[in-house]
């Protein structure tokens, strides 16, 4: 059994209106020292399996196909046996 922790973010060149909105709100709330906001998605998948390399491939394909929009997002993940 493995647990994959997956982070999906916009590519740096893509405007993220959501992160902008949060940053503006923080500034208005007197958190002017917040320099930068990144807003992404976080997934944890628990997968049955024994072959780590195979599970890694599977997670990658799940990210490519479903969890990330590769047109404008990038992802990374950590895999650990549980």
């Amino acid at each position: 059994m493995y647990k994959a922790k997956i982070y999906v973010n916009y590519k740096p060149s893509v405007l993220d209106p959501k992160a902008e909105a949060i940053k503006t709100a923080l500034t208005r709330m007197d958190h002017q020292n917040v320099q930068d906001v990144l807003y992404g998605k976080y997934f944890e998948l628990t997968l049955d399996g024994t072959d780590e390399a195979a599970v890694r491939d599977q997670v990658e394909s799940i990210c490519d196909q479903l969890l990330a929009n590769v047109n404008m997002e990038t992802y990374r993940f950590d895999l650990e046996a549980v």
């Binding site: 209106p17 959501k18 909105a21 949060i22 503006t24 709100a25 208005r28 709330m29 807003y39």
Partner: protein
């Protein structure tokens, strides 16, 4: 009665509400930008539908920090009438003026459709012109209207008859079919359906007028009381 309709950046039902109040129900209504911080002189405050601040984090999450919200809280604490419709309801829950939260519809889709509701409590400032268990049809138009509260809060809501409107056919997964609730004191209402979209026969019906007329009635009675 004089109503304030708050315009948050991204609100888009503010002028619809003003039209329904003023042109159709004869209740004077002013648009108040969220950057203001006073509500002096108003009998009721409306938080309209829309996508305040884009609703980019959670709906209503950012709007709650607008300057006007301090005034709204004071206004409510002093017993003033506050009505949040759709995004306004979401803002009121985020601001802690109403319990619970509004989650994504179970279909994960935005839904624009007429919804048939039961008026389950007519003993409120917002529903006294309806009859007990009356069926009314109001449009819904939301992606995040799925009412959630933890079991204790939910039991509490029911025990104190705070549910005002329930869906007859649950469109979004709301617990206990909840479409609209008040706070315990009964002066703050939040509802997902849009009464302001159903006040003219030309646009399909007048079931929504009851909310505005109930409030006008309540305010008028209170004034008579004070005067008497």
């Amino acid at each position: 009665m004089r109503a304030a309709v708050i315009t948050f950046p991204g609100s888009n039902c503010d002028t619809d509400l003003q039209w329904a109040l003023q042109q159709i129900c004869g209740i004077p209504a002013d648009l108040i930008p969220a950057s203001q911080d006073s509500l002096a002189g108003y009998d009721a405050v409306f938080l309209p539908g829309g996508f305040s601040y884009g609703d980019y984090l959670r709906s209503g999450a950012i709007a709650r920090f607008s300057p006007i919200m301090g005034a709204v809280k004071q206004f409510a604490a002093a017993g003033g009438y506050v009505i949040g419709i759709c995004n306004g309801f979401q803002i009121l829950t985020e601001a802690g003026l109403l319990p619970g939260a509004l989650q994504w519809n179970t279909s994960l889709h935005f839904i624009c459709a007429p919804a048939t509701l039961t008026v389950v409590n007519t003993a409120t400032a917002f529903s006294n012109q309806y009859t007990e268990n009356q069926a009314i049809t109001l449009p819904i138009a939301h992606g995040e209207g799925n009412y959630y509260a933890d079991p204790v809060t939910l039991a509490d809501l029911e025990a104190h008859h705070q549910v005002v409107f329930r869906y007859r056919e649950n469109p979004n997964g709301s617990l206990n079919d909840i479409a609209g609730i008040t706070n315990r004191a009964g002066n703050v209402l939040g509802m997902m359906p849009h009464p302001e979209r159903r006040v003219e026969a030309l646009l399909g019906g007048t079931d929504g007028q009851g909310v505005f007329n109930s409030l006008a009635h309540t305010v008028k009675e209170a004034a008579v009381h004070v005067a008497g």
